[in-house]
Symmetry: none
Subunit: 141 residues, 4 copies
């Protein structure tokens, strides 16, 4: 199973609503379980350079099934896997990429958000995940 | 001026509706006047390999301000510019990419569609352009 | 809006004059708001390898709308976004790239300078920004 | 010897004047004898996608010391070197790139122009070459 067009629309709509609420225009990407782009939008006024980051956050979270910030553990000083973030053509290891699972816990894709402070990116990505869960599209936490 | 989030939403919604009507799931990309991605969606069941093509059609139409198929004139046997389609990291020179102009005729971006026969791709891209024009977002033909 | 040919000429002329005054030949790049090159010159005697850096400084400042050195905050030890400078195909996070805004504060492009010590690069880029502002092409600080 | 900043300025000024005279905004690139960019400008309204082509025309002419269209002989059907235009990361083999020689016939760089019909590109590049020759910067034909 892979994230659907409908789920991508829900995720992006929720993310756009949250980004608008906090007044920070964002780049929002949805990737599927094949680490391929399913949907994307760059909100008006969002940093152009954050598009690549949003996409790579979603790609990274989809490739490994973890929140992007969790992967920092591998590459931090003293971590087990120095250079891990340079694999796969370059990964993102700070927050804003969150995997999406279906109702049975299977990885079906990921959301990536960039355009604000890292905490804001995370908040907006979380809003997308919450909307999917509320819609019954995803397991409850 | 560059194509807006609202215009991108209108374009994609109209393209998705047309693609659904003809029963051919499509990849639909919107690029801005700087040839950067503004929005994208891969409909459920659309060819994965057509995502790159839809994006490149939109990029190509944005880079030159012409329908993608018009650029074939340059590279067809006997054309003036052999190899033109290998510039800019590779361009698409068949139908499915259409530039978007504002009410004063200025290039503001482009739509790119791929997933069906070329004529179907063109039809779906045209539906997006028509929807933008109908909304007063673009000059009338 | 995007930076114009006239603005690019003014920016480069001012940068060349400043570089000449301090006796350090420079590479000077102007990018537009789509992070595409608008104009460039490599002064006689300027380091060849600094051409890429000047261009990337302008590109980086255009992608994010900040001075390039400000972006170091994100990637410095303990910063919020480790690896940020490896996004977008590689960014520059030291001084010499400065965004250009129009009279209403909108990002219209950026200047990038490289060829001397970082402080010299910054000084020459600043001279370009000052010339644009003096010409009424940009908001006053 | 390599083309100088002054020569690049003269070449670009003459090309801009000719492009303005014929009403076709152009991308104009000057490369040195190391096939590295010396100067570039994208005139207002010039096709964004023609920037890459202008640069590659100048690069191609600098790499081989011939007008770009002359290189088509090698790759035309029946030519001696099929695929020649895919070497060096891709070359341009239609008109608009012209080498620049010094007063003793030595290759010092090249001009590349793109943005109009191929004949217009050639005309504008020729204007740059003529201006250099008139200034005594280059051998007379």
């Amino acid at each position: 199973m892979s994230i659907t067009h409908l789920q991508a629309d829900i995720a992006i709509a929720a993310a756009v609503r949250e980004a608008t609420a906090i007044g920070v225009p964002m780049n929002i990407a949805v990737y599927d379980d094949g680490a391929n782009m399913k949907a994307f939008v760059r909100m008006d006024g969002a940093f152009l350079g954050s598009a690549d980051i949003a996409q790579n956050k979603a790609r990274t979270a989809s490739l490994f099934g973890f929140n992007t910030e969790a992967l920092y553990e591998f590459v931090k000083p003293g971590g087990t896997s120095p250079g891990f973030d340079r694999t796969n053509g370059g990964l993102i290891v700070f927050a804003g990429g969150i995997p999406v699972h279906d109702g049975e816990g299977r990885l079906i894709g990921a959301i990536g958000v960039s355009g604000g402070a890292v905490a804001q990116d995370y908040q907006v990505a979380e809003a997308a995940i919450t909307a999917l869960a509320a819609g019954g599209f995803q397991e409850q936490p």
